[in-house]
Symmetry: C2
Subunit: 338 residues, 2 copies
Amino acid sequence: MATGAEFQKVPKEEVLRFCQSCMKVAGSSLSHGKQLAEVLMSADYRGHFSHGLNRLHVYVRDVQLNATCRDGAPEVLKETAATAWVDGKNLLGAVVGNYCMDLAIKKAKEAGIGWVVAKGSNHYGISGWYTLKALEHNLLGMSMTNSSPITVPNRAKKQVFGTNPISLSAPSSDGQSFVLDMATSTVSFGKDVVERKGSLQPLGGPEITGGYKGTGIMAMIEILTAVLSGGAVAGNVRQWLSTAEEANLGQLFVAINPECFAMDFEGRLADFLGCLRDLEPSSPDLPVVVAGDLARQHMKQVDEDGAIPYPKNLLISLNELAANLGVEPLKVVGPWLP
Amino acid sequence: MATGAEFQKVPKEEVLRFCQSCMKVAGSSLSHGKQLAEVLMSADYRGHFSHGLNRLHVYVRDVQLNATCRDGAPEVLKETAATAWVDGKNLLGAVVGNYCMDLAIKKAKEAGIGWVVAKGSNHYGISGWYTLKALEHNLLGMSMTNSSPITVPNRAKKQVFGTNPISLSAPSSDGQSFVLDMATSTVSFGKDVVERKGSLQPLGGPEITGGYKGTGIMAMIEILTAVLSGGAVAGNVRQWLSTAEEANLGQLFVAINPECFAMDFEGRLADFLGCLRDLEPSSPDLPVVVAGDLARQHMKQVDEDGAIPYPKNLLISLNELAANLGVEPLKVVGPWLP
């Protein structure tokens, strides 16, 4: 949750309008720009500010420079009832991700599980956007992606892995669903401290505290996304902000139909998550939370405020972008006061 | 790798003979005892001594007390071409795991992926045993299980999660395959220091260093195993060493056919892993290794020695177990000298 008086409020619809307008001028098709706008706005709405509007300029530039394709559709290269291999055709990650997750959902309804792997994709924003789609169909959703090198494997010196996020969303009967959405590095890229420091570590940190396990998980994600799909792998992925070559990211999208397993998945998940939330906290002021709870709290606050809080510095740079593109600046509705 | 003069060497075949004999006297069917013996011996052979012979007494006692069933077969409760829901019928975890992974492999060959979830299982030894089976069929294998409460979620005080291991094995064209096999707690249960301390933390440690992510991964594994299967969930799993009730563990077994995706998976994996191993190390005496490398080094050493090294203290307690059961003691072939 953002704090401080240096924040201004922008309604969700205005965030969408702004993103779509910028992407349209950059050259994206209307549908593609709209899909990206939804992912970025959703990130900010959920409180994942590292993956929202603050990255818009990167997508704009990629499309302007033809480093990301402006229009077209992903293509299924191979398919079974439960699996698909997709070429993302270097389209926006949001477009590839939506296509693949919709396909995984369709397969899960027919075959119990849908396991869709894409190559030729781009940065797709928050991983949770795609897995949340599965919830609307009472399915579990899972997704992973590789990304530009920033994380140094244990024992090495060089940045090789991306932040390699993983997400699992699972439906709960009380609506308080499980929504895990995390980088498998210690801190997600896009947070200030980290960007200055320059390198990330795998979850677990140094080898002595288990970083070799985080290294293993990051390699696992690389294998299930890029190696399986034939995308660019680890150190071969282009640098963040580079447009010298296609990103060619590998991504995995899974949907699982709980009806193929034990009855009343949603009720049992509600029980499990409820037990976790009811655990006595080690510090009274820090209640035990479940993946997804903090995002729900943030969305509730945004809904009450009628707008998303953004730092003034970000708004200044977004409006510079808008001026360059000839797009109307973001209309704020007033200061955000915590 | 074990070190010191206080080790004795036992050939692999003798380890198998010993386990099978103990399980037979305990009451297990020959086939079930043999399956357990293979998993435990394999753990020690691979250097995972926390999950091998040192746990034999637990399985023996569970079978003796009828806390684990002695004979029978798991049962498929629901099935699609790509999925199955299995009741492990409270059989040995090794028996349930072998059954489920064989089924997942069969489904992956037919449908591209096999996703098999079991309830009613027991501790199944090293997770990697099951995923390695997939490699024999040129498939990727993945497995997860929940286990008895020992890990304290971030912000909580109570042991809720087990060690919740995850494994991925993936075939490489050079035979140096990827074999991730890890607890998602900071340290695997069964290691001395930890048992004395009494509690584990999720990977990442305290919240400030990312332990909330490890907490999320452990909850994810709980959901994909126990919640999906209808097994006992997290804090409801019986305590380690308790026989008051059935363990009713939940487990997931996945096999993935890489032929459904990009060509030459094995070649690309070999390239990726080779790049990792060739990274310049931050300390010259600590080369960068890939999940599975240390186990292969250990197996090579065992093969050269013709035997597995065990600490004398463990052999003493195993031979006490044997004396109680009326089983011939372990035949050592001499001291193990590093």
